[in-house]
Every structure is written in structure tokens, then in C-alpha cells.
């Protein structure tokens, strides 16, 4: 579905995120300073998950160029940004990733790669297990459910077993093992039209079940709410769940979660260098308002501070319940 159509559907719900923020005296939300530089380096992916807001898949071709990646390195090198968060699609499918990790690991205090795990089964990409280990990359892995049936329903047949096999290999390297310093976090997102539950409770369930059944370990579970956009929006509409889901998000609006939204200290960069307040805005073609500088090639971190964050009704997804961010719930 085209982004204009998505925005029209989100705009015709009779609700308004900006109004909700005004009611709690939180409008407009403004940027503080950049702590997280999040790069979406590839919309290509070996999977085509049903909830994917990027609508990534094997047929996509958008990749961040080496030139843009070099500029990101310059910014990282000459700023106080602590975290570099690399996402996709499947970041491993960008041919510059190996070089980029090697360079970025010199400057980033925290270097995260978001992986679907399954890609690491493929011969071409297997090498990234060692690359991640050698550069002590934090791995943030998608695993929507601890049951094969549920997980495969979202990510495709066989994806769960593939992911479990890779987690076993990562555990052998030390990932997810207490005291190793190698971080393996897992991302849960609901396999259906409902919100994620209590993060701690789900983490306990994941850890217990995955260890008892497969003998695997991980560090932390991040619960991420599915945003009503992209493939997930199409699913909600197709199954007549859209109105109820939006109502649920609105009713669960939490001013504390709105206070802690990650867009305040995150700069999201798309494959072509365009700047956004978050990855969701990126996919809805809602660029950040940072003066005239809308591309990373013209950007310096000082430009970021105290700017109005671009919002729309999908933002209810980040402020519902315990909140949602790329690091999971925003309040315990």
C-alpha cells in the first residue's frame, strides 16, 4: 500500500495523536540530543514477515551506499553519540556491512545489529557470526514467540527452527551467556491484533520455555508493539481489526510512555541518507524537520537539538501501555 494511502487511513480514524499530547500537556515533542544513530542500511531481506513495517523482502533493492556509511562514521567519530543501531531489512545483505562494522566498532560505545538470525544460516552470510563476535557487536534478534507454530505464522515456515539453531551457535560463542559481555537480546512482537504483555513476565516465559525445550540462552527480551502501518496495517484492515486495534492503542495511551519516546534522542537515517525521527516515520515518508538539512550528507549533530518531532497517528503505537521502542518497553 502506498504511504499516502496509509497516512490517509491513519488520519481518518477520528482520533489525533497531537490532540492526545495536548491533553496531557506534552505537545509538541521535541528532540533533545542524539544518543542513538539508527541506520536502515538495507530494505532487502531474505524473509518477508507479515508484520514488517519496512515491507522488506527478497525483491527490495534499496541499500545504503559506502559514501553515506562513511559520512555516518565521520559523525560518529566527531560526536558524543553513544549508540550505533544498524537495522534493515536484513543488514547483512548490504555488501558494506563487514567493512562498516570493522570501522564503526572503533568509535561506537555500543554497536547494535538487528538481525533476523535466519540469514546467518546461509553460506554467504554465515561469516557474520564471527564478525559479530570479534567486534563484540550487540545482537538484537527477532523472535516473535517462543513457540514454533506462532513464530512461523509471522515469519514463515522453518524460520523458527533456523533461528533456534543460530542462537545455539551464538551461545557457543558466548552470546547470551552471563559474564561473557557478548549481548544477545531477543525481540518479541505480537503475532496478531493485540498489544504485547508485560515485558518482564514475557521474558520469564521466553527464558524458561526456550531453555527447557532447546537449551538456549539470551540476555533481555524487548517487547515491541506492532505499528499500524505497512504489511501489519494491511493485515489489520483485511481481518477487520483496524478500528479495534486503534481504539486499543488510544485507550492505552500512557503519558509516561510519551515522556520516554525514543525519537527524542534518536536520529534515523534511511538508505539514501534522508533523516527521520524514527524508522516508522521513515517508512511513512515523514522526514524529520531539521531546518533545511534533510540529508545526512549535510548534517552535523548540533543541528538536531530542540526540533519538533514529526508525529502522526501511528505514534500511538509507541505510547500505549508500558510504551514501545527499539529497546522494548519504555517503563517497567
Amino acid at each position: 500500500m502506498e504511504t499516502e494511502e496509509q497516512l490517509e487511513i491513519l488520519g481518518n480514524t477520528g482520533i489525533s495523536f497531537s490532540e492526545k499530547l495536548k491533553q496531557s500537556d506534552q505537545f509538541p515533542i521535541k528532540t533533545t540530543s542524539i544518543d542513538i544513530l539508527q541506520l536502515n542500511i538495507s530494505r532487502k531481506c531474505n524473509l518477508a514477515c507479515k508484520h514488517c513495517h519496512v515491507e522488506a523482502g527478497p525483491d527490495r533493492g534499496e541499500m545504503m551506499s559506502r559514501e553515506i556509511l562513511k559520512k555516518c562514521l565521520d559523525i560518529l567519530k566527531n560526536s558524543n553519540i553513544s549508540t550505533l543501531d544498524i537495522t534493515g531489512g536484513s543488514p547483512e545483505m548490504n555488501p558494506h556491512l563487514e567493512w562498516f562494522i570493522h570501522e564503526a566498532s572503533k568509535y561506537a560505545k555500543r554497536l547494535i545489529v538487528r538481525t533476523n538470525l535466519v540469514i546467518l544460516k546461509e553460506e554467504t552470510y554465515r561469516t557474520f557470526i564471527d564478525i559479530y563476535t570479534n567486534h563484540r557487536v550487540e545482537i538484537c534478534a527477532s523472535l516473535p514467540h517462543f513457540s514454533k507454530e506462532q513464530s512461523d505464522r509471522q515469519r514463515g515456515c522453518g524460520s523458527f527452527e533456523g533461528a533456534i539453531d543460530i542462537i545455539k551457535q551464538l551461545n557457543e560463542k558466548g552470546y547470551g551467556i552471563e559474564g561473557s559481555g557478548l549481548v544477545l537480546d531477543v525481540v518479541h512482537n505480537p503475532v496478531g491484533a493485540y498489544l504485547p504483555g508485560n515485558q518482564k513476565a514475557l521474558e520469564h516465559e521466553y527464558k524458561t520455555r526456550l531453555y527447557e525445550t532447546y537449551g538456549i540462552h539470551f540476555n533481555t527480551l524487548f517487547c515491541i508493539t506492532n505499528m499500524p502501518m505497512g504489511r501489519y496495517l494491511e493485515y489489520l484492515l483485511r481481518t477487520d481489526n483496524f478500528d479495534d486495534y486503534m481504539m486499543e492503542l488510544v485507550n492505552a495511551f500512557n503519558p509516561n510512555a510519551a515522556e520516554n519516546v525514543m525519537c527524542k534522542n534518536t536520529l534515523s537515517v534511511s538508505w539514501d541518507g534522508t533523516l527521520y525521527n524514527c524508522d516508522f516515520n521513515q517508512m511513512l515518508c515523514l522526514p524529520a524537520k531539521i531546518g533545511q538539512k534533510d540529508n545526512i550528507m549535510d548534517f552535523s549533530p548540533e543541528d538536531f537539538k530542540d526540533k519538533d518531532i514529526v508525529i502522526h497517528n501511528h505514534c500511538f503505537g509507541c505510547t500505549a501501555g508500558s510504551g514501545s521502542s527499539c529497546q522494548g518497553a519504555t517503563e517497567s
Partner: protein, 110 residues
């Protein structure tokens, strides 16, 4: 009849303390504590709540706790097992009433 038990009325639940705010506040405090994780997990308590909801035939609670169970990763099989506990309890409770009936029969019959 269509005005009764509308789905959107579930959103009114936080307002049920209206007209009796002090009591309402006490209820929500109690409700919150009783359903939060304690010796039993939030997951276990949600399954109990779902069972009570189906036994008591409360459409709001069935909606709320089915969603909560899904959110906490409870499988549909686990939820159905819980509903069967409720159904079995109801059947048992009904059959247990026959004790009175049987006692009377035994007293009255020659």
C-alpha cells in the same frame, strides 16, 4: 438490545467509580493488587480471570482477558484448558447440588 454490551463500552471500565469515587478508588486499588503478579504469576492470574469471565459470562472480561492472555504468550490450547476447568467446575457444582436432592429422596422414599 443492541445498546447493551457494546464492545466500545469496555473502554468505560476505568470510569466505573463515577458517582462513588472513594469506593471506586478502593476497588481499583484492590483489583490492581489482586490481579498483579504475586506468588502467582501475571500469566496464571490472567488464566484464572479468563476462566471466571467465561463462567460468569461477562463479555467485557472475556474480551479483556483473552487479549491479555494473548499478550502474555498464552496459547489457545492453554486458554481452552482453563475454560474447561471452569466448565468442569460448573458441572461439578451442579451435580454437587444433587446431594440435597438425594438426601431428600432417601428420607422420603419407603
Amino acid at each position: 438490545m443492541s445498546d447493551y454490551y457494546e464492545k466500545k463500552d469496555l473502554a468505560d471500565f476505568p470510569n466505573i467509580g463515577e458517582y462513588a469515587e472513594a469506593e471506586g478508588e478502593k476497588f481499583f486499588d484492590y483489583y490492581g493488587k489482586a490481579t498483579a503478579a504475586g506468588k502467582l504469576s501475571e500469566r496464571e492470574k490472567s488464566l484464572i480471570a479468563l476462566t471466571v469471565a467465561t463462567v460468569q459470562k461477562c463479555p467485557y472480561c472475556i474480551d479483556a482477558y483473552t487479549n491479555k492472555c494473548l499478550s502474555l504468550g498464552v496459547s489457545k490450547e492453554e486458554m481452552m484448558e482453563a475454560v474447561h476447568v471452569g466448565a468442569a467446575m460448573q458441572a461439578g457444582i451442579t451435580l454437587a447440588q444433587s446431594t440435597q436432592m438425594r438426601k431428600i429422596i432417601k428420607k422420603k422414599e419407603m
